[in-house]
Symmetry: C2
Subunit: 246 residues, 2 copies
DNA sequence: CGCAATCATATGTCAGACGTTTAATTGTCT
DNA sequence: AGACAATTAAACGTCTGACATATGATTGCG
């Protein structure tokens, strides 16, 4: 972990890479304390600010955490799913918002992933997950709910569905896809009739999961996917018409 | 974008958050140039090193890029799928290697996601994707192939399968799951008979995709998933036996 | 023996400086 | 006038040295 070509540019990036590689390879185990900034500066033959920039890069990826004080320093961080969620959501949101990914593509991916979860969720759902799904479906039927609140509840419903699969890797993967779509979903205005139909499908999905009927769950998810696409296309068409009228 | 409580700790983290929020909200559009480090230092009333630490955090997430020279500075980066892949793989690898995720869980997630792609891949596969899948299946049948090379080819085969779905969001999501598992897969020693069976399933999958028979593809993927789990359990059992023998 | 004051260590921040890269400007020559 | 070369200016990248602050360990006193 001392690779440093005498190229005097991007030093902090090179140092960050060296340490990152050491962590990924397992040479630096979890909770291991890195040398102090002064020691690292000496080892890599750079100044302390340069070392600090490298450490901040790693901190931004949740690879290390720092503690001040006598026994402080930088420690290899045990990556928690919670931290990974946040990064995943940030990245996915940006990908969708500024990388020309169409709503249809994002939507297709999301429902493909959810349908992948459905059989597992049907097999393993607990009372807790079912209760959450029921509660969210009920909340969605409250009159006077804003579109934003409706969408937020929709996200919560689908998260419960995914979490019911009992596979944290799947939950992690889907957190990005589902939550990153929320800003796009928020642009849709749901009529009362739209909501009614969505809630009916949610209820049917919850029923199927409760009955551990994965085929039924899959069918309802497919319907929900198709209906969401239909609503989105409607919104897009109306927006295009309005743009033409100007 | 000037929020800075007078708490004189974590200044660089706070500044990074302020700028990150501005980017995510769209207040700073893609390719927009941020103020120079000196100007930012003045705006936030901190020193330049502190600003630089904040910028390095953002650079680590590929949110900004920097250019030297007269017209240089920090620019809001258009996040490319390629960059996102890298982060996704790093994060997924770490989650798997040090977060006590069992091989079974990771494997289950991976094949669930792949099976979600299969119908789309069957519908949209191009000659290119099919050629890649065939080529990798053929490479896997070469005698004298190391286990690592076999696994690498396996990854390439499955990437082609996923890419065939023509949905970059799915490709992105799966890049993490599939590639992050490679280190774990590399620990498996494949006997000639194991390989034979895997190659047969790969060929069957390629056949099904070519014939656009999504049910057949799904069935073969399910078999492959089951067989992979079986092989892994075998390895784990043997390792446990060896550990007991010591 | 217990508790409080002190100390040592390491991170967090600041100020000022120099080197390097790069584009724009200026100046000169044809 | 136009083209090419030299100068200049802006900005990042790095270094040095210093001070502030947090926190565990040590020491000293009752």
């Amino acid at each position: 972990m001392k690779i440093d070509p005498s190229n005097p540019a991007d030093l902090s990036a090179q140092i960050a890479k060296a340490i990152r590689d050491a962590i990924i390879s397992g040479a630096l185990p979890v909770d291991e304390r890195l040398p102090s900034e002064a020691e690292l500066a000496e080892q890599f033959d750079v100044s302390r600010p340069t070392v600090r920039e490298a450490l901040k890069r790693l901190a931004a990826q949740s690879l290390i955490r720092t503690q001040r004080g006598a026994t402080g320093g930088a420690f290899v961080n045990r990556l928690r799913f919670e931290d990974a969620y946040g990064q995943q959501i940030t990245t996915s949101t940006l990908l969708l918002s500024m990388n020309d990914v169409s709503f249809a593509t994002a939507c297709e991916a999301r429902y493909a992933l959810e349908r992948a979860c459905a059989p597992l969720s049907a097999a393993r759902r607990t009372a807790d997950h079912l209760a959450t799904m029921r509660a969210e479906a009920h909340r969605q039927s409250q009159p006077g709910l804003t579109d934003e609140a409706f969408c937020a509840s929709d996200v919560a419903f689908h998260r419960a569905l995914v979490d019911a699969a009992g596979n944290p890797v799947l939950s992690y993967q889907l957190a990005g896809a589902v939550e990153a779509m929320q800003p796009l979903m928020n642009m849709i205005t749901f009529s009362a009739r739209d909501r009614e139909r969505i809630i009916a499908l949610h209820t049917a999905i919850a029923d199927a999961i409760e009955a551990q009927d994965s085929a039924q769950a899959d069918e309802n998810l497919a319907n929900l996917a198709a209906y969401t696409q239909e609503l989105a296309q409607d919104v897009i068409a109306k927006r295009a018409a309005k743009a033409r009228a100007k």
